[in-house]
Symmetry: C2
């Protein structure tokens, strides 16, 4: 029952348990290591009798065998690692939950998903990719051009939820569109965009802003007034006053944190939300219902998003022969937009 091979006389010496190799499995199942490899990898180009197959599986099971990924990668010339680039904490739980779910889905396909945090102090993605040689890189909002280029040159597909700010066309930046649509449906016509001052989020910020701008244009509204809010809420009330003074009736925010800052500005200016100024965020946070007033937001359907990534992963692993090169190119997930995000209506937008 014990998975550890018995090292004769090395019993209570208790060195680190050595893991069984495919040779151990082969020996136990009375087959060759090649057969073990075939069975365990479900290779279809090789006929294996059910009996052998079963014997190998049992032996592996009994030994608690786990393939050495390093050896596998080396021999196969391709790793079984996928890399998930997490943009930044400011995007909220989204990345974490998606990553966590995708990790599980990838594991089913024998791929280990690892997360890499992108931040001002962190390692460049290229650097990590050179170490890990991942089969694919997942990102939320697109990587910078240099990184994307390098990955493509090295045949590593990049899968993004959304293209980055520069490549975005209308329709890709749904969150902004949903914000504006909702505000318009509530009768607002003079809209401001509240941006973040946090560094490192430029690409996402640009994209989200563009969505708001485009949506306003689409609805025949004037270009939204642009304002930036510091998360400390410093100067927030003055900014709010000047927006209201300029006739603005609603604010679409970069995210919920910024929206919360705007809310604070409204209260401190002695104004009311939503009567004097309505506010809506993005990246639905758990505490939105505890805000004063409760904050409307755009919520992502994390499971749906994780599924989109998982599908892309399958495509890549199965090496869809229909489009030989395309797999090694950046691809953007588009799964019926409304399934992926929705408006959460609370008092801050009436």
């Amino acid at each position: 029952m014990d998975a550890r091979p018995v090292n004769p006389s090395d019993d209570r010496e208790a060195g680190p348990a050595t893991l069984p190799t495919s040779a151990d499995v082969a020996r136990r199942a009375n087959v060759s290591r090649a057969t073990v490899s075939y069975v365990l990898n479900g290779v279809t180009t090789q006929k294996i009798s059910d009996k052998t197959r079963e014997a190998v599986r049992r032996a592996a099971e009994e030994l608690g065998y786990r393939p050495n990924r390093a050896a596998q990668s080396l021999a196969a010339g391709a790793s079984r690692i996928a890399m998930f680039v997490v943009p930044s904490v400011h995007l909220g739980e989204l990345s974490l939950v998606v990553s966590s779910q995708l990790t599980a889905r990838a594991a089913e396909r024998g791929v280990t998903l690892i997360a890499h945090f992108q931040g001002p102090t962190s390692r460049p993605v290229i650097d990590v990719a050179q170490d890990l040689r991942p089969r694919v890189v997942f990102s939320m909002f697109g990587l910078d051009a240099d990184t994307t280029d390098w990955l493509q040159e090295h045949g590593i597909p990049v899968v993004s939820l959304l293209p980055d700010g520069d490549q975005a066309g209308p329709g890709n930046d749904r969150s902004g569109w949903l914000q504006v649509e909702h505000l318009v449906s509530r009768g607002h016509a003079r809209i401001a965009y509240a941006d973040t001052t946090e560094p490192g989020l430029e690409a996402v910020a640009r994209m989200r802003r563009r969505g708001v701008v485009d949506a306003c244009a689409q609805h025949g509204l004037e270009e939204p007034v642009y304002e930036r809010f510091d998360l400390t809420a410093h100067g927030a009330q003055e900014k709010v006053r000047s927006l209201v003074g300029a006739g603005i009736t609603a604010v679409a925010s970069y995210n919920d944190e910024v929206a919360i800052t705007v809310l604070a500005g409204i209260r401190r200016a002695g104004l009311r939300c939503p009567e004097d100024l309505a506010v809506i965020g993005v990246d639905e946070m758990a505490i939105n219902g505890s805000m004063e007033p409760p904050l409307s937001s755009i919520e992502f359907d994390v499971s749906a998003i994780a599924l989109l990534y998982a599908d892309a992963l399958s495509d890549i692993l199965d090496g869809d022969p229909a489009r030989p090169r395309e797999a090694s190119t950046t691809r953007f997930l588009e799964g019926g937009d409304e399934d992926v995000m929705r408006v959460v209506v609370r008092e801050s937008t009436g």
Copy 2:
């Protein structure tokens, strides 16, 4: 200047760029692959002439050589991967920033730090560890006993910021102590503990709660009243009313999210904070200053923490011969507690 080896006649065919190997470097430097390995790994048991050393470095540089980690791991019998287990999003930015910084520090030591999200839907740590065979596993608040045991058995050291709830002794659960100390300094004597209802955080929650309970005992206060707050703020005002009715004057919360919920309950109960009930959280969030009233909290010094981890990593890599086995045992970081966390005072505690 181009890092890509030139494949004769395969010029604009543009297959994925193949990466240079140590053989390429050896050839270019007119040495053997062994020498390349020695130089690039800074092996001290081998004397290498400065000239050779320089030649190898130059060749590697010019080729843009990066060692294949899979091959390295295989040959060395040990990976150069470290794993950072991220407990959950509810702990805020802390994990992300720490991980991001530690990633950079690890890279300097030739170690690739990868993050793994722990969550209800995610893969078990053991599973990932079996794939990646990390040199060390970093966790924030300790892993569960099974995981820790498995890792230890396999000689993989575990480094935690804090021991888990069951092993905690007074002094380890500083956040709770700091909360209580601060509240006591503000004249509070009847304290309640507001816990989270989120699943998956039991170990941390237990530990933090214990810190509050112990600190109260230490200060000669009654055992804190225990209450749980749902992040939707559902029922929050009733709970707050009953706490106040019972003579409670201050609440120490599991984290800032819970504290924010308590704040909402206070407002909705028509009470005042801090006059009727003071509140303090943990895990300083950027938006705390925008709360109503601004929320006091406990802030972690992420850089200090990242440094502690980095030191532990160095210890392990250098295989400190003084304590041969201890490296393969769970270790807890303790870096002058007050350096690692501090109270951020705002209006919610007067």
